[in-house]
Symmetry: C4
Subunit: 266 residues, 4 copies
């Protein structure tokens, strides 16, 4: 069974419709310090979550990625689920791409939320980074932003920092929560404190994972996290390299790139 759901120029390809018990959703896409992407990617590998769908979009960058095995694929986001006995099931979204343009950010977030609504998801956790612009002293904090005051209550034992100056959350990490509210979903954005100038941030990633562990009782083993972060850095460096190459092609004769308009935001 393969099912297609489309919204304008974004396609959600569902290979299996999981039957989940009171599921909670966790998002981890590329962004500052790639904290969300790395954290959710680690959860998926570590807990052996099952892939059940993918999302491709005309709003993603218009190129295919070549892996070390010289095989290519277009950019995509992936959906996984984790079934658990006696505990809430989990739906996870992970990926290396976000929309290049504002409209695409909304279109993709609407499509995801509408699908989560069908799956019965009522609670959302989105993960991002908050760049302070300077090195972090000691353990990085995890800043919280919720959809409502009521929501804040359930996180009070987790030492999430609500005393911060975060004024906005760009891309999927913010829009999924805001659009989710219109489908009677509630949730929290967990933002790892990060200098902002690191390609990836292992400490901030671990700090966020600890909060999720505390919340969902995942018994996360952090031993292999460093390895995962190294792997993640490889991919992220490749993506950065591509951006630079596309930028560099601007000077080539007969060619003009759109690189000025390309950007990973999140």
């Amino acid at each position: 069974m393969v099912e297609h759901r489309e919204k304008d120029s974004t396609k959600l390809i569902i290979e299996e419709n999981p039957d989940l018990e009171n599921p909670i959703f966790i998002e981890g896409l590329t962004g500052i310090g790639h904290i969300g992407r790395t954290a959710v990617s680690y959860l998926i590998d570590h807990k052996d979550a099952k892939k059940f769908g993918e999302l491709i979009s005309d709003h993603f960058p218009h190129w295919a990625i070549v892996n070390d095995n010289k095989e290519l694929d277009i950019l995509k986001n992936e959906l996984y689920y984790l079934e658990r006995d006696e505990k809430r099931d989990i739906v996870l979204l992970v990926g290396d791409a976000q929309s290049l343009d504002p409209q695409g950010h909304y279109e993709i977030a609407h499509l995801i939320v509408e699908y989560l609504d069908e799956l019965g998801v009522k609670d959302l956790i989105t993960i991002g980074g908050y760049g302070t612009g300077e090195p972090i002293d000691g353990e990085p904090k995890v800043f919280g932003v919720t959809t409502s005051d009521r929501e804040k209550e359930q996180y009070k034992d987790l030492e999430i920092d609500f005393d911060h100056s975060v004024g906005q959350i760009i891309g999927a990490t913010g829009l999924l929560l805001g659009i989710g509210e219109r489908f009677d979903m509630e949730g929290i954005a967990l933002l790892g404190e990060t200098p902002g100038f690191l390609v990836s941030d292992p400490k901030a990633t671990e700090a966020v994972l600890e909060k999720i562990d505390g919340l969902l009782e995942l018994d996360i083993d952090f031993e292999n996290l460093e390895e995962k972060i190294d792997e993640s850095e490889e991919i992220i460096k490749k993506i950065k390299q591509i951006h630079d190459q596309v930028k560099g092609q601007k000077e080539k004769p007969g060619e003009k790139s759109k690189s000025k308009d390309l950007g990973y935001i999140g």
Copy 2:
């Protein structure tokens, strides 16, 4: 009852369809000096208008706003109504966002006008600022631009200034009137004279409100206006800060923002 009306990538979510008597419409969105937004926001609070709908759009900036209580919401415009005995009912549109791109401006204006048409609205007042580029001497003027000569007649006692050099009106303030004409609506744009370099302009806001008071007999008490303007400045500063932050993120490694393409126009 919640009713959805969509137009491509803009959604109007109506919680209640008010039954209004010969209603007149007033628009107040962000723009130069934020005169429209502040004036209509003051009217809503001061007269206790009732919220009945909201508009969200893929053309708005692609981030969620975090308030002082660390709760987030996506950007939106809101619809209010004010029922009055023996006087004309009023529909009000207020909001902190306008489209980031030209197409969105049209799409949103078309959707609003089509809905106003269903509500039986025949008269439109839009509010904006006209930046002179230098400090204003004495009381700021209120410049008027109408959809037709006939329309101008009814404002003759209000000392609206029709002797100006306004050549164009950007965004909703102009488009709502122009598109409204194609639905047999008439109207006026009231533009407060403002230096243009102020974050908000209390004097120009009050000048415009006085004209609306004169026209609609609202018995506006201007005592709390200053307080409202302070509050408005806070929100506007936050929005400006976000723009600067998004702009600043451009230099971060592995990240490229679209900030060059973002802009509040109005």
Copy 3:
């Protein structure tokens, strides 16, 4: 009777469907030297052509224009027709706006050609300017570009210059002909030789009108052309002024314009 035809985000509002005999189409929109716009506008006034429709588009600039009488309207293109005894009827398109983005150019051209096809139009004349970058010596030439070699035959007595180095035709002047070909229409683009740095070019406009006169036997009286050109210059200056104002607003606090992305192309 008012009939609406839409194509994505462009609307054609037809007030009257004229019943025309073997009609020929002439386009005159803004562009280099505003030759097309001025020539067709003169024809309409001079020959008292009848307006029967207008075209508005989300791809036009997102502002309303204020005229000297302080009345506003949104930007539009207008359709006129001219019925003639014993001679071919004529459909004319005139306007101050073209699309701001490439996609809009195609969308608008497709909608116009599809409607012309319904009207039975088989022949197209589009008018533009070809900027040489230096002052023109003597009478400006009129360069011709046709959809086919066969088409070129019928213009051989008109001294249209086919010995030129025009490599491309931007916007409606080129796209209407190219898309028209796919509806079995043929046609010619008449491009007045112009320095390119003039706001409007009366001599090039007259040169193009003479060719059209020769082709369609319109008995054009050129006496009032100068007056028309003065009037045209006023409007064009206003449009230029608006572009500059929009550009100037970029530096205003809390505001960022999209002016970099705005452009009249044609």
Copy 4:
């Protein structure tokens, strides 16, 4: 018979639906060194392939091209087929235009792949260039990127170089393969090693054609390739000239071009 297939703002106009035996697809659009465009164009002429369709898109540059005979046409991609006895039939895509914006790249690639699926195509070859940024010593290599490891097997006798550092493939050359995978198609991108600063690259073009010859047993006669490359350079220079002209028009009074947003990517 003329059949239209549309996808949003792209149109595929099919004049004849060929009945092909196990066809293989070859793409050759504009890009670095114009290797794909030149190679496929040579194949079409040399083997007398039959044109059966064309693709036009609102995402292509918004101008018409004027040829040496002073006739114009809009930009397009063309579909050809080659029927062969005892050997696999071939479908070829050639053209001077790719999308100006990321979304268009996806939209066009989706439409092409969906149509190829109807034709029964299961194997794809896309052709591009890989710019090294420096002069090539000796014979240029042909780099390969495949959709899967299994696919790589069948090219092992052709001396295609899989030991390279290509990290991404921009535009149709990459997207057609990636989207094709979702329709159970497999394929290879053949990228000719090129300095990247040449308008066209005859040596790299010949190197790629040799691989295709080896794979499809086309008995290519390379004698007239040089002539074809000269012809190709003429067209490419014209396209480059147009870009420069559009760019140059920015300084003209009353005009602002969108040239910053225009770019051939591929």
